[in-house]
Structure formats: structure tokens, C-alpha cells
């Protein structure tokens, strides 16, 4: 585990990209091939199957540390990371007494699968006792998952390319090629480094998706983008991004989070047998009925389900709103211009007339001036879209988030002035501050809570609020405090829906604190009627 621990510490101890890349290259040079594969897997959010529940881990850690479980839980709440809490409540150890490497520890954890609880406990606590605090933290992370070390897929790709370049026996590979290889359905338990990265002809996985091209948000007016004629505009759909792949009669649907979600949308299955060439389409998984998108809330009912009932399929029909074509036949066409790709996409879809109920072309919106497009954007909300996507007609399809050719130009969020009534201590990064707040609006002379929000304030404001909370606590409920309702904040949100589960009768989407209205008294905050007026 030493190489991997050193890598982790090096990555964790710097904010500089060049240093991170070099640390990864050093690791690739020092580590065994199986450790390389596992490190890549962990950094791209793959992890061994969980063999021990976190509630058992908590119990055992509290017991080993000699503290009551409630104290462990309170501490965990402050630390915000279970692996770290466990690593630190246990007695410190300066040198490890075992010498397993990363993949051996993973084997160790995977082998627990069929053991009974007593055996598991013994093996886990033995491991804890044999490791230093840093190694213990990583060992716990291998069990619980969620490696956040500030290493993006892009960084791993870059480091791999650099490593292969410097390595005499290995073949050099382009970063884009590596990024593509790291996508999709490979399993670190079975794949070798050779197959994953080196082999000329990897067992071509038919399901392998391309890395998504991600847009930046356009903060200012589109004037700065230049001539309107160079740009195409389509509605920004309020669904989830997906890549629809048909290869050799098989259909795969990937979500942007690199999750294979084909089975959740069985209505698409018949596309597997549709007449015509194979394809890879980039588009939006969208709930859609009566010629209109349905609110995102509807789609949410389907996102969580593994198996879908006929009833739900009828209630929330979905479509693929296609906006780009990445592969046609067996040709990767990502280096062609957006205009050319669009033409082929349009042709492909119009040749599939039997499937237009599930596969639609995201139409381009014609416009001559930015002003014209801007006034069209004002209708985005009633069309249940989020605004426009602006795409440069001559641009190729890039890998990851790149500035330049794709911009999202969203409508301004809705806002409401609300009174803060509860505060909860943050955890992890913000352990000693109050950072989670509950807000209310007036219903007559009563305050009704309607949302929580935590992002949007500066660190200085959080500190000031923490001070306020300390001095204005009315009641305590564990980590939550009710406070004197005097402070007013402007809350911005992307959408609002009716909700039976909430006292206020509404549920917000993506609420955040826009600003602290120091100029307003609590009595001047908005009312529930104001809030409900925003429901369409």
C-alpha cells in the first residue's frame, strides 16, 4: 500500500496540476500492473464491491476506540468522512506492520464477501491495527468508496499518456484515445493493464461510450461570441444527458455519470432492430408527452427505478431528444464539423419514421440577431426548457469540458425573499461553521418553511452567520438549531413544483442562496402566496 499511500498524499498535498500529473507518473513507474489498473479504476469512480456495511464499520471502530457509538456518530458528523473518522479515532501508529500492496488489500477486502460477521470483524480490525492512520484511511476508502482527491479523469489520462511516452517498451497513445479506453464497462477485477491501455486491439467492447463534450455556462451576453450566423441554437432540454449506442444489433444507453441505464428505459429497446446503420447519438433522456417535455420532476420518478412498470411507462413516457451524432456505421465522426454531424443526424432520424415517438431531433432555432434569440429565450420556461445551447457550426466534438464551441445560455433563475429559521452545522470542509439553513415565507402571521439551501454565500458570510446562530439560538435539536427569525435572504432556484410531502406545498429545484438581504426586515420577506404564484 506504500506506493499508493504516497501517491495519495502527494495528490492531496498540492493544488498544482503539474505536480499531480508528475505524482501519477511516478506511481505508474513504481507500481505493479495490477496496482496501476486499480488506481485508475479508483480515480474513475470504480471500486470493489462492498463486502462490509458501514454501520458495522462504525460499531467496530467505536468499540476499538473505546468511545460510545453516539460520540463516534457526532464526531463523524463533524468530520464528514467516515473513512477519515475511523482512521483517526483509532490509536495512531507510526509504521505499518504489513506490506500488502493496493491490489492485495483489495483482494483481502473482496475475500470478506462470504465470511460471517465475526470473521469480518476480526479481519477488518486486524487490518486497522496493522496500518498507519493514512493507510487506514485509504483502506477504509476501498471499502466505502468515494475517493475525492482532486484528480479528474482528464488528469489521469494526461498522466497515462505521459507515462506511456516516457516508457520505452510501451506504445505512445493520444490522450483522447486513452480517455475513450477508460470509458464504459471494464472491470478492474478481470482486466489487465495490457488490455486496458496497451493492446492495439482491445477486446472491443461494443458498449464503450465516447467521453461527453461538456459546455460552459455563458455568463454574459452572446454578443461576444461574434456573428450569429456562425452559431446554431437549440433548446437546452431539462432531462439528463445520455449517449445512445447501437452496435451490431445491440442497444446501450449511458448516462453522463457513466452509468449504463439501458434497462431503465425499455421503450427504447426496439431501436436495436431498427433498419439502417449503427450509430452513437448524443442527446437528452427526456420525459415527454403530448408534444411537450414533461417537468423534470416526472423524469425523476423513472431515474431511480431499476425495473419499470407498464403503468409508470405510460404515465411518464420518455424519448431521446437527439442533438449530435458521434459515430455512424462504424465511423467515428467526432472530428467533423457540427454542421456536418447534424446533417447526418437529421438524415439518420428521418430514415427511422417508425421510431419518431421515441427518437426525436432536437430542432435548431432559426435567428438572425442575438436580440431575436434573446427574446425567444424569454419563452424558455413555458416551453419547459432551461434556455439555449449555442454551438459553433464549424466546431468538432471535443472531449470533456472545453471552452469555445459549446455554451449553455440559461434563463435567469426565479427568486424569492425568505426568512432563515433553522441552521445546521456543516460537516467536512465546513465542520466548524453553520452552513445548512432552512428558509421560510409568511403564511399570514406564521412562517412556513419551504426549502433548505446551503450554497451561495462566501466564507466570510458563513462565519458571520455562525456568529449570529450562536447568539440567537432558540432551541437545539441535535446538530440543528432554530434561530430568531430576523435575517432575510434572496433564494434563487431553477424550478418549482407542487409537493404533497412539504408543509409549504411546494418543492424547489436547485435552490441556492443568491444574496443576504441586509436591507430587508423579516416582515418584508415574501409570502406563501407569492411563492405559489411561481407555480405554472
Amino acid at each position: 500500500m506504500k506506493h499508493f499511500t504516497n501517491l495519495f498524499l502527494a495528490l492531496d498535498q498540492t493544488t498544482k496540476t503539474t505536480v499531480k500529473v508528475q505524482s501519477l507518473v511516478d506511481f505508474f513507474n513504481a507500481a505493479s500492473d495490477s496496482d496501476k489498473v486499480w488506481a485508475i479504476a479508483l480515480f474513475t469512480h470504480r471500486r470493489p464491491r462492498r463486502t462490509v456495511t458501514t454501520s458495522l464499520l462504525r460499531e467496530w471502530a467505536a468499540e476499538k476506540a473505546g468511545i460510545p457509538l453516539w460520540l463516534f456518530e457526532e464526531t463523524y458528523h463533524v468530520v464528514g468522512d467516515l473513512a477519515e473518522t475511523i482512521a483517526k479515532v483509532l490509536p495512531a501508529k507510526s509504521t505499518a506492520s504489513t506490506n500488502r500492496d493496493l491490489s492485495e488489500w483489495i483482494q483481502y477486502i473482496m475475500a470478506l464477501k462470504d465470511k460471517d460477521e465475526e470473521d469480518k470483524k476480526q479481519q477488518i480490525t486486524e487490518a486497522w491495527e496493522s496500518l498507519t492512520a493514512d493507510e487506514r484511511f485509504l483502506f477504509n476508502k476501498l471499502i466505502t468508496g468515494g475517493f475525492r482527491v482532486g484528480v479528474s479523469q482528464k488528469l489521469v489520462t494526461k498522466a497515462l499518456a505521459k507515462y506511456l511516452d516516457s516508457h520505452t517498451t510501451a506504445t505512445s497513445r493520444e490522450e483522447n484515445q486513452i480517455a475513450h479506453r477508460l470509458m464504459g464497462n471494464w472491470d478492474p477485477v478481470t482486466i489487465s493493464f495490457q488490455d486496458l491501455i496497451l493492446n492495439e486491439d482491445p477486446n472491443d467492447d461494443l458498449s464503450r461510450p465516447y467521453p461527453f463534450y461538456l459546455a460552459y455556462a455563458l455568463e454574459d451576453s452572446p454578443q461576444d461570441l461574434g456573428e450569429p450566423d456562425d452559431w446554431a441554437a437549440e433548446w437546452k432540454w431539462d432531462g439528463i444527458r445520455g449517449q445512445l449506442i447501437r452496435r451490431e444489433g445491440q442497444l446501450f444507453l449511458w448516462s453522463r455519470g457513466e452509468e449504463l441505464v439501458t434497462d431503465k428505459y425499455p421503450e427504447l429497446a426496439r431501436l436495436a432492430e431498427a433498419v439502417g446503420p449503427d450509430f452513437v447519438i448524443d442527446g437528452e433522456i427526456l420525459a415527454y408527452g403530448d408534444g411537450m417535455p414533461l417537468p423534470f420532476q416526472a423524469l425523476q420518478k423513472r431515474i431511480g427505478r431499476k425495473t419499470v412498470s407498464k403503468k409508470l411507462m405510460a404515465e411518464v413516457p420518455i424519448i431521446i431528444m437527439a442533438y449530435d451524432l458521434l459515430e455512424i456505421g462504424t465511423h467515428d465522426i467526432r472530428d467533423q464539423s457540427y454542421e456536418k454531424r447534424r446533417d447526418q443526424l437529421k438524415g439518420l432520424i428521418s430514415d427511422l419514421p417508425l421510431h419518431h415517438d421515441i427518437l426525436k431531433l432536437s430542432e435548431l432555432q432559426a435567428f438572425d440577431t442575438w436580440a431575436e434569440l434573446s427574446s425567444l429565450r424569454d419563452t424558455a420556461r413555458e416551453r419547459l426548457t432551461e434556455g439555449f445551447m449555442l454551438k459553433r457550426k464549424t466546431g468538432d466534438y471535443k472531449v470533456g469540458r472545453k471552452k469555445g464551441d459549446w455554451w449553455k445560455w440559461k434563463v435567469d433563475p426565479m427568486t424569492i425573499d425568505a426568512v432563515m429559521i433553522y441552521a445546521m452545522r456543516g460537516h467536512g470542509r465546513r465542520a466548524n461553521l453553520y452552513t445548512d439553513f432552512t428558509f421560510a415565507v409568511w403564511d399570514g402571521d406564521r412562517l412556513v418553511s419551504f426549502t433548505k439551501a446551503y450554497s451561495g454565500l462566501t466564507d466570510a458570510e458563513f462565519k458571520e452567520l455562525t456568529s449570529f446562530v450562536n447568539k440567537n439560538t432558540v432551541e437545539r435539536f441535535g446538530p440543528v438549531r432554530s434561530v430568531t427569525p430576523v435575517l432575510v435572504f434572496e433564494i434563487a432556484f431553477k424550478g418549482i413544483n407542487e409537493s404533497k410531502r412539504h408543509k409549504s406545498g411546494v418543492a424547489l429545484r436547485f435552490p441556492r442562496i443568491k444574496r443576504w438581504r441586509r436591507d430587508k426586515l423579516a416582515s418584508e420577506a415574501d409570502t406563501l402566496a407569492n411563492l405559489k404564484a411561481l407555480l405554472r
Partner: protein
Amino acid sequence: MNVIESTDRGLYCAKADVYIDPWKPVPRALITHGHSDHARPGHDAYACVKSSKAILRHRLGPIKMTTYNYGETFTINGVKFSFHPAGHVIGSAQIRIEQDGEVWVVTGDYKLEDDGISETYEQLQCHAMITESTFGLPVYDWTDQEEVYNDINNWWSENADDGTTTFLTAYSLGKAQRILQHLDQSIGTVYCHGAIANMNDAIVNSGIDLNPYHKVNADNKADDYKTAIVLSPPSALNSAWIKRFKNPSVGVASGWMALRGARRRRGADRGFILSDHCDWKSLNQAITDSGATRIYPTHGYTQIFSQWLTEKGYDSQPIETAFIGETLDAEPQEETKV
């Protein structure tokens, strides 16, 4: 009625009519140490230990002040008071209060380990103890300080080899001097932010020796800092002041660095776990060794710590203060009034 009670001005001894580290102006204040959340301006009369005098003068200007030696007893209306070393920073004290045979100790901020520059903590015996609990959670377990100094010097040395300026934040009273005394000056020059340099000057003028340091000033060029270490208060990290250093490697020395999230939020390259407060073990040890049965935690995770003590059989209640006490981001200071 308790010997010491918590009021909206701070801890108060009614019989003697004195406050301890009060946060609102009072006629008579006993001050545990010079951090600004304990030594507030505006009181009519101050009392502190001799070695805190220069620091309080530096911070508060011409105040009316009486000073005592550690261990020296003085009596006010029949209540016996004495200051005892707290090991927190230079001139830090616990206050022992004895009234009708009942002994209370207000620890102020304290740590048990000897940092080589603050007067070493003295373990007192008492019936009731008002203890700080800034780091009163079992995840706070300090690394051996020699190891930390070693890490800091190694980091500085690596940076110096690369020609990268080393930038380390530490509170200007306490941590800064503690680090200054342990830097290996064969690596390069030690520069201090004005706030630290001025505090150093005040301490040196009061007769305490410190290792050499230079004040960062406008005449310095970026090149002067290539192999140097710069000590700065945490607040300078977010100011324009830091821009004079070209791509420095940034470190933070604080007990809060024990948690990964805290360091990541700071955006620092390195976090060094170095605190002038007790860790979990020390807090528990000090409480056990005091023989006290009534324990009142103040600052930090007071609720949690108090519940822990209650379960262990102590009579314990948290005491809230109007101060955040030591936080990650700032020198100890009064919270902003809303």
C-alpha cells in the same frame, strides 16, 4: 450560588466582583492571555501575569494594569486568586479561585506539552473546572511536535531547492514564535508579516529572546524570497498582500489541519498539525488529574464534550461564549455583531 458564573459579559465572580476574560466592558477584568478573544479593550482595570504585560500593552495600548507572578496569591473581598502557567502562549495563565475552601480553576486556553517558549502548563487541583474544549473530539490527536517541526523544515528545504517561496500561516501570537524557534535557518531567511514582526518585537522588548527574523517590507524584491520562509497570519492568505510572492508553496500550521476537509477548504498545499490547545487525550487527562468533579466546557464542541463527561460520571454543563474562539480562518477574535 456558584463561585464563578456565566453572564452576558463573561465569566463572573460575584463575591469579588471581577470578570475573567469578559467580552463587554467591565470595571475589573482578570485576563488569561493576550489573544483578542480573551483580552478585550474597554475595561476600567486589567490584571494579568507579568509576562503577558508587554503583549497586552502591544494589543490594547495604555490600559490600567496590575501584574502578578505565576503562583502569587491576591485576595479580593475574601476570595483568593492566583495565576498559573497554561502552556498556551507566552504569558498565558489559568486562574485559580478559592472561596470559602472551594477551589475553581478557569483554564483559559491551554496545552499540556511544553512548546519550548510558553511557560509550561501546571496541573492544578480543584473542585470545579471551567475548561476550554476547542478540540474536544476524539479525532483530534496531535502528532509529536518534533515530527511536525521536522516536516516543516523538510518542506521548506525542498521548496528552497526549487527556488519556490515557502509561505506558512500561523497566529501572530503564539504559533508564530513557536515555529520561529524551531526553523532551521541554515535553509534560508525567515521573513515575517508585519503583524507577526511587531508582536515579535514586543516580546523581544519584554526581555524574551527569539531567533532572528526579518520583516517583509515594500523594498523587498520577489527574488529575496526564493529560498525564504514567510510567516504570516491566516488572514493574509485572502488578501492582496500575498501577491508579492511568486507562486509560493502555501502551508497552514493549525490544529484544524488534523481534518482533511479543513485543509482542502483552505486551498493550502500543506497542512501541519500544530496546535496550542489540548487535543482529546490531553483534555481528558487534565480533567482526570485535576481531581475536579464539576466540569464546565467552553469553546468548541462544548455540548458533545459535556455529554461525554456526564456519561463518565462528572457533573458537567457547557458554557456558551459570545466568541468563536480559535477558528481555522482567523486570529481568535470577537464575532461580528449582526
